[in-house]
Symmetry: C2
Subunit: 316 residues, 2 copies
């Protein structure tokens, strides 16, 4: 048995016992049974050491974050998660690292009801790529381009927590609870399916609230007015301090949802979020005038110099 | 527009115009429509620089090989390819590298009728992971454990060509035509769907004929007798030279299919292979006695010391 077959054993417990999986880990491919009349949603997000996670990040965090960032994408499409494939590249065989990674991965997959059905392992610089497959009723995916002027702009959770925790890591803090928003985000993906039929545009925040809202606006050909005083800033951040405000607006690593909806959906959406324990805040509205504008008590406030935190460029 | 959005533009032509793709590259996830009554087959294979491809390998070869190794896995399951997701990690933005990579990838995807529907790009050491999704009629996937004593053992194509070309690369040869079996393998994946219902076990050869046949034997709880004189050695290799024989038996990088079938399927299988232009050779048979045995003219010949070429360990 090769080293990498031993690795595969770490992941066998992540396979679950989903009856939709005819054949899981161990053959040339996995065989699954989609449900008639459902569309499938595919997403694929990678973690690269030194880019998405810092050198020395705990292995559980690798596993937990890898699932979280992909669930976040599926949530933004309104899909329920089903099956996953893992491509893992490691510089060396380290049984304790792998065991902790698989534990973090497995916990999050089980919570979400996802079966790990296959993947690939290779030697190389540390990185992990998860392909996550979800499903939803035909033609019900949440997309980006349907907003109209006057639609509400919502965000879930709080803004700036991921960037704030990232800053703590960079300052040498190593307490898991303080770092969790950065290392182990907990995206509100369960809200995604409840948004079907109610939104005019949806995206997950990952690069930063303004950068990701900007993608929604671009798709809709609209602008937005955002009320700074309405923004749900992370505890410890003060919107009167420009650096804190910029962290919330553009710090990245928050993994919340941002979506737009007709005004008549405000109350039904709030009720769904309440039912699922997700904090939901209306932070502004779409406008015919293109571009993003920030207001505080009716006064326009300048945008941050950079609207997002580009994971493609970062070396923390 | 970020650097990585520019990269995405290179891959837009790989999206195709498949009506089963409701939403391709550009949102948080891709949305596709599976066919009622079909199972899905997922596979996920990665190329890491310095492991699966040598430093300095041509970018077209990266693209072409990435598709090939994944098609090879789907073929071994009997599935027809449908959709793909690409996770690409690159140390730098190099437009000419990317353009050539996307050309190689796109050519092979188009030949196979596969739509690239999404993926991920990040900075980091050069690697590429493709998740390939195929489909087939419910419960028709080719698996590994169904062999019976007396079943024929077949291989497609020739053995040793990939390892021989890899050796040429390591010797400094840079002629594309000579290196193609290594850098741009051309697996006989189209034969896979034609094997449905006819095989008792199937696998793709990638680590080496004996190593991969060993996986079939393990799954079936059987052994095999292999006739060296029947082996389809690559041109230039001579089975009387032990080093050549070992390259064919265990050299890896061949990306052919190996499968077992009842004797009464020999003729129908040959006819299917002929129809598809795939060379097919019966090289031995399954035995109740466990283990692998090699014979030359009735005399048993020792096995190679190492049965395969482990991509997880290799640093060419």
């Amino acid at each position: 048995m090769s080293e990498f077959e031993l690795i595969a054993r770490h992941f066998a417990p992540c396979g679950g016992d989903d009856p939709s999986v005819r054949l899981g880990i161990g053959d040339d491919g996995a065989v699954v049974v989609p449900s008639d009349g459902e569309d499938l949603v595919f997403t694929c997000d990678a973690l690269v050491e030194g880019i998405h996670l810092p050198m020395g990040a705990p292995p559980e965090a690798w596993g937990r974050r890898l699932v979280a960032v992909n669930l976040s994408d599926l949530g933004a499409m309104g899909a329920g998660p089903r099956w996953a494939l893992l491509a893992l590249t490691l510089p060396e065989f380290d049984d304790s690292w792998l065991s902790a990674f698989a534990r973090g991965l497995g916990e999050r997959l089980r919570e979400a009801g996802v079966a790990l059905v296959g993947g690939n392992t290779a030697r190389g610089p540390r990185s992990a790529t998860l392909t996550l497959v979800g499903s939803l009723p035909a033609r019900s995916a949440l997309t980006r381009g349907g907003g109209r002027s006057g639609d509400s702009v919502f965000v879930t959770g709080v803004l700036g927590a991921g960037g704030y925790a990232r800053r703590l890591w960079n300052q040498g803090v190593r307490e898991r609870a303080l770092l969790a928003p950065y290392l182990e985000p907990n995206p509100p993906w369960r809200l995604g399916p409840a948004l079907r039929g109610r939104t005019t545009g949806a995206i997950d925040i990952s690069d930063g609230f303004l950068a990701d809202l900007g993608h929604l606006l671009e798709a809709a050909g609209l602008g937005a007015d955002i009320d700074i005083e309405a923004l749900p800033l992370a505890p410890g951040l003060d919107s009167a301090r420009r650096a804190d405000l910029d962290l919330a607006l553009a710090g990245g690593d928050d993994y919340e949802l941002c979506f737009t909806a007709r005004a008549e959906e405000d109350e039904p959406l709030r009720a769904e979020a309440l039912r699922l324990g997700v904090r939901l805040t209306r932070v502004g509205s779409l406008t015919e005038a293109p571009g993003l504008r920030l207001f505080r008590g009716g006064e326009e406030v300048p945008l941050p110099k950079i609207l997002g935190h580009d994971h493609a460029r970062r070396a923390p």
